[in-house]
Amino acid sequence: MSSEKRKIAYIDGKPYEIGANHTSILKFVKSYVGEKKVPTLCDDPNLAPYGACRVCSVEVALEKDGPTRMVASCHTPVAENQHIFTSNEAITNLRKNIVELVLTDHPMECDSCEVNNNCELQTVANDLGISDHRYNSPKQHKGIPRDTSHDYMRMNLDNCINCGRCVRACDEIQGSFVLTMSGRGFESKITTDNDMMFGDSSCVSCGACAHTCPTDAISDVFMSKSADVDEKVRTTCSYCGVGCNLEASIKDNKVVAIDTPKETEVNAGHTCIKGRYAFSFYDHPDRLKTPLIKRNGKFEEASWDEAYDFIKKEMNRITKDNGPDAFAGISSARCTNEENYVFQKMIRAAVGTNSVDCCARICHSPTAWGMQQTFGTGAATNSTEDIYHADCFIVIGANPTNAHPVTGAKIKQQVMKGKKLIVLDPITTELAKLADYHIKLRPGTNVAVLNMMLHYIIKSKLYNVDFVRDRTEGFDNFIKEIERQDVDHLAKVAGVDKQLVKEAAIAYATAKNSMEFHGLGVTEQEQGSKTVMLIADLAMITGNIGRKGVGVNPLRGQNNVQGAADMGCQPHQGAGYYEVADEKNQKFYTEKYGVTHPTKPGLKIPEMFEAAIDKELKGLWIIGEDIVQTDPNSAHVVEAMNSLELLVVQEIFMSETAKLATVVLPGTTFLEKDGTFTNTERRIQRVNRAVPPLPGTKPDGVIVTDMMQKLGFDQPTYDAEQMLKEIADVVPFFKGVTRERLGKLGLQWPVQEDGTDTQILHTESFKLGRGRLKNFDWKESTEIETNKEEYPLILTTSRILQHYNAATMTRRTKNINIVDEDVLLIHPKDAAHRDINTGDIGRLYSGRGEVALKVEVTDKVKEGIVFTTFHFPEHMVNMVTGHGKDEETMCAEYKVSSVEVQKISNQFKTEVKPKENQAEVS
């Protein structure tokens, strides 16, 4: 690399080296002489150069003292030996004259404007020293009605300067194409969809337009660009596993708005509706503000000490009479690493049992397990950034544009730029619509289709001979088993077109870099772990492991589900994934914790339910998980909870589970605590306290530590930074992590002692040495085998963009105005048999229970499949879902439930929601 000759160009006479990232004169100049040297208005470093405002103009000469030419620096490349002049009279006059023209069509009411003192136009004009114009009565775009029809977004086009940044942000970053510049010349203006009101448009409320808009022409109801705040605190989103960096604006100790810092590794200034706008749950009146103890079936308010003493007494009684294994804990993937760590430590060291689990059990436990079996490490092999380096994507059982929106948008952008996309999904998701190959298989047949793909790759001799020879083991047997697969039969059971699967397999195998993503559509099935291992096979035999732009990448659901497992909230492995049953490890943990560590693997969540019903488990402590609403077969869960003698629930709201608790302890949201989250690409990022905990509440780590001290365990008072130090001492891949080193952008584990982190796993070898190729045959799900006669339809569930899981948080924001119910999707043919039309209310039922849902008839779902979300407690969709589990990890089979649908009534009438329309005129 460095053998190339260094290239030089001159800025105002001084020589500077041209670097690889100096794709324009503007970038070159900014990197050496600062951001302010050249003004800009239409440029945003996260968008492609556009060249509209021209205030970035500079003069260039091809040689010293050569003739100069005026060019716009943002889209003109730097050339070797070029002489760049950033300011002289001609340039300054040009900039002034342009800004003067802008001011001829601007209201100039800065004092009353939301973005006063945080406006790019204001700054550029001030820097150039102009505040007025010389034109005689120019026509202005003034008095355009403000658009206040949207629940979050606001539009005030009087202040629009036509820079087109909003349009480009919507197109290039979000990929939603809602905004357009319509009209020509002086009449051009921003419109949403086909001149619709903002609130009626297809806007997904990501806020990218407001974020980039240099004025207040597009903003939001929180006025997130207002400079009138006390402080801005950088933190990490607590919804999904993408892990977007956020910036909370604080005024009078309240979070008034959330935006995102421009400079971030994960989200590059982008977020989805949830991260940016769905934060007002944090001080919602429903927040629990005092501990509650249930006496005679009724909750009574209690002081913290009363509650702690009550719990201590009960815990001691239970463990004394029945041993520590009569107690268990379920941790929260929404809480920080520090909190998860200290919670599992309490259960293991202070109580003395390994029965601690977390919601990874019902989402990605098969991923962790399957990848451990094949590679040795149960985490995403690559980084989100690698999306830019892949040539082909395969997305299996995931709907990232809804569930991992920022990552979904990135994939979508690349696909729109011509990268190949393969989607395996029974639903026509947004990505499936764009896919080159959408394999619309029926739920429960991932193993069948992956075997077909492997078969075609092997048969076409498209596997990577070198990689297979140097990096894997078991190929000889593998190839035999794969060749034996009966593809015709598999195609039939999966209901897919053989030719399509073959073409997709070839596309994956022949692309330079193929990158895999999967979601819960892979794991939440009876053959979930096996599917993961076949995905690993697919990557290994084609050599798509260990470099940029490839890999096997689970899209982790919850913000810190990776972290919860890393921290040891699993019954068979402690912090850092050491098997608890191993004596060597017991010694290690015993040394670290100062008490004898239990060796018997604990109970997994579903086993806890069984044990509770069987009266073997008597006490359970749950942090921030609404298992009643979110775990399958709700009736069974309720029965288990009611069988317990002590149920402690740490929560922010009175959830369906909390209602069943003996003691409820009011925890806090991420905005009120310090700590770290680990995102889907193993990036450990800081969570920084934005506001103090609501009076009466305590951060969850504090609660657990208080309790440990009450129980007589020697645990220092909770402090996130200290706790991270302890973790770094125990968890090997956290070795070099300190709060300070994490800085703004975080670090990807494993982190070496010197702080070096890791973007890509398995570059040289696998943790297991060689990667293990494993075969599995497809098998029909027991759920379907048993119930298909009586319940011929297959239900598969998922979530939507606007809500998050049990929606405890998002229901308590304006997102509820956008979507307020779960809807059942059914294929036209299936609907016709049952005489159901869109808008009817249907009874969705199985042997376990039933719910009534509004129905939408659509071919988005495959024939024989019905689909819905599970966000609303009014519906409790999990009354219907099954008992099936992944064979290896007991992950619940949410994606395959045998059900039937019946029409209840066509009582549903389209409800016309009153919207405040364009009333207000400035």
């Binding site: 208005l41 150069p49 556009y50 060249g51 509209a52 405002c53 021209r54 205030v55 103009s57 005026m70 716009a72 889209h75 490349p77 001609a90 006059n93 040009l94 004259n97 342009i98 023209l101 802008v102 001829t104 069509d105 010389r134 034109y135 005689n136 009565s137 120019p138 026509k139 300067i161 036509n162 087109g164 357009t180 510049m181 319509s182 009209g183 020509r184 010349g185 002086f186 009449e187 051009s188 730029k417 011509g418």
Partner: protein
């Protein structure tokens, strides 16, 4: 232009010959001929084809720019309607040279006859396997489609034209990337003017020497010139580069029907040449530019003696305000503010603020993204220079 390509038979014979010719030789012929683009920007055509042939891409396009929007220009129309085979032949050869299998003719909506003529030729050539899959049994395939223009002058600008074909708003794009590397649907694309393509056909059939021998290196060959109805012999003429303008106007055009004081040469963005300067000019791109004018597409619009020049400026500003895309700030706002200035002169509500007008013209000239609003100051500055006296009473100097 000689008529060796008026029948499909001749077309077939020539095509057969060129299908066997080495691509490099074709590029060399064009380079040797010194042909430069006839659409206004004057880029060497051989170089354009060469760049595009070297650009990487699994798909490439050839676009014929037939959006002829210059007032007083009808030379492209003449070629489309009277010599369609020449234009199409140029496109096919371009496709062969750059490795493209698809071409698009972007034809102005106001030219229904041109669309009909080109359509007819395409159908005929397809029937004869001179267009379409495996032309004349070779492995070269090339298909042609027509796209009807969106109607604004800016649609003729190549990046706006590409946007328009893609169904986007006709808006100018930044360059680089140039169309030769990233054009239609982000694939390498040659955009050539109708006349350029027809001239390329002539050069390749007759050899480059003849063309290069006319005029000089930078302004070589012949050029179609359109004379408007103020001339005694209006029409389109093929004229050797280097011919004195006075010869064109007085001998070929036969002089003027009415007294004229100036001509706008090269469309709305071309210079306004006062009658007195005609004697000092030859038909030569560089000569025009050196004098502060622009030959461009070489259409001639006469300005009658009694036509007020401030009205002419108003008309020019109005043109750029109405026909521009409005993307860049100086273009969108500057054109409109200029128009307003002359609205006010017309309505006698204000005088011309000369200082501000001059600053505005420099701002547009130096600052604009493309040559629409960026070149409209050329004729306006010409008028202020040569006819300033005429507007003396309407001006205030120090505003």
């Amino acid at each position: 232009m000689d008529d060796k390509l008026s029948s499909p038979n001749q077309f077939k014979e020539q095509l057969n010959k060129f299908l066997k010719t080495d691509k490099q030789e074709i590029i060399k012929s064009l380079l040797d001929s010194n042909l430069t683009g006839r659409g206004g920007a004057g880029f060497p055509t051989g170089m354009k084809w060469d760049f595009c042939s070297k650009a990487k891409g699994d798909k490439k396009y050839v676009i014929c720019n037939a959006d002829e929007g210059d007032s007083g220009a009808f030379s492209d129309r003449y070629l489309l309607e009277d010599q369609p085979l020449k234009v199409i032949f140029g496109m096919i050869l371009c496709g062969m040279v750059i490795g493209s299998d698809e071409g698009v003719l972007y034809i102005r909506g106001e030219y229904p006859k041109s669309i009909e003529a080109i359509n007819g030729s395409i159908n005929e050539l397809k029937k004869l396997n001179l267009l379409g899959d495996n032309i004349l049994g070779t492995d070269f395939s090339f298909d042609l489609g027509i796209c009807i223009g969106q109607g604004a002058y800016i649609c003729g600008e190549e990046t706006a034209l590409i946007a328009s074909i893609e169904g986007r708003r006709a808006e100018v794009d930044v360059r680089p990337p140039f169309p030769v590397t990233e054009g239609l649907y982000k694939k390498p694309t040659v955009v050539n003017n109708v006349e350029t393509l027809a001239a390329a056909t002539g050069i390749l059939i007759n050899g480059p020497e003849k063309f290069a021998a006319i005029g000089n290196k930078k302004s070589a060959g012949t050029k179609l010139v359109c004379l408007d109805s103020f001339f005694n012999n209006p029409g389109v003429y093929e004229i050797d580069m280097g011919t004195p303008m006075k010869k064109i106007f007085n001998e070929i055009g036969g002089g003027y029907k009415e007294p004229v004081k100036a001509f706008q040469v090269g469309g709305p963005l071309g210079g306004v040449v006062p009658l007195s300067e005609i004697d000092n000019l030859n038909l030569d791109f560089q000569e025009f530019t050196a004098k502060g004018f622009m030959l461009g597409h070489a259409s001639i619009v006469s300005i009658p003696k009694d036509f007020p020049m401030s009205e002419y400026i108003h008309h020019l500003f109005e043109f750029s305000a109405e026909e521009s895309c409005g993307k860049c700030f100086p273009g969108r706002l500057g054109s409109y503010r200029g128009k307003e200035m002359f609205d006010q002169v017309k309505n006698k509500t204000a005088k011309i603020p000369l200082k501000l007008l001059n600053e505005l013209l420099v701002t547009m000239q130096k600052g604009c993204l493309c040559a629409l609003c960026g070149a409209i100051p050329t004729p306006i500055m010409n008028i202020l220079k040569y006819f300033g006296d005429e507007m003396k009473n309407d001006m205030v100097k120090d505003n």
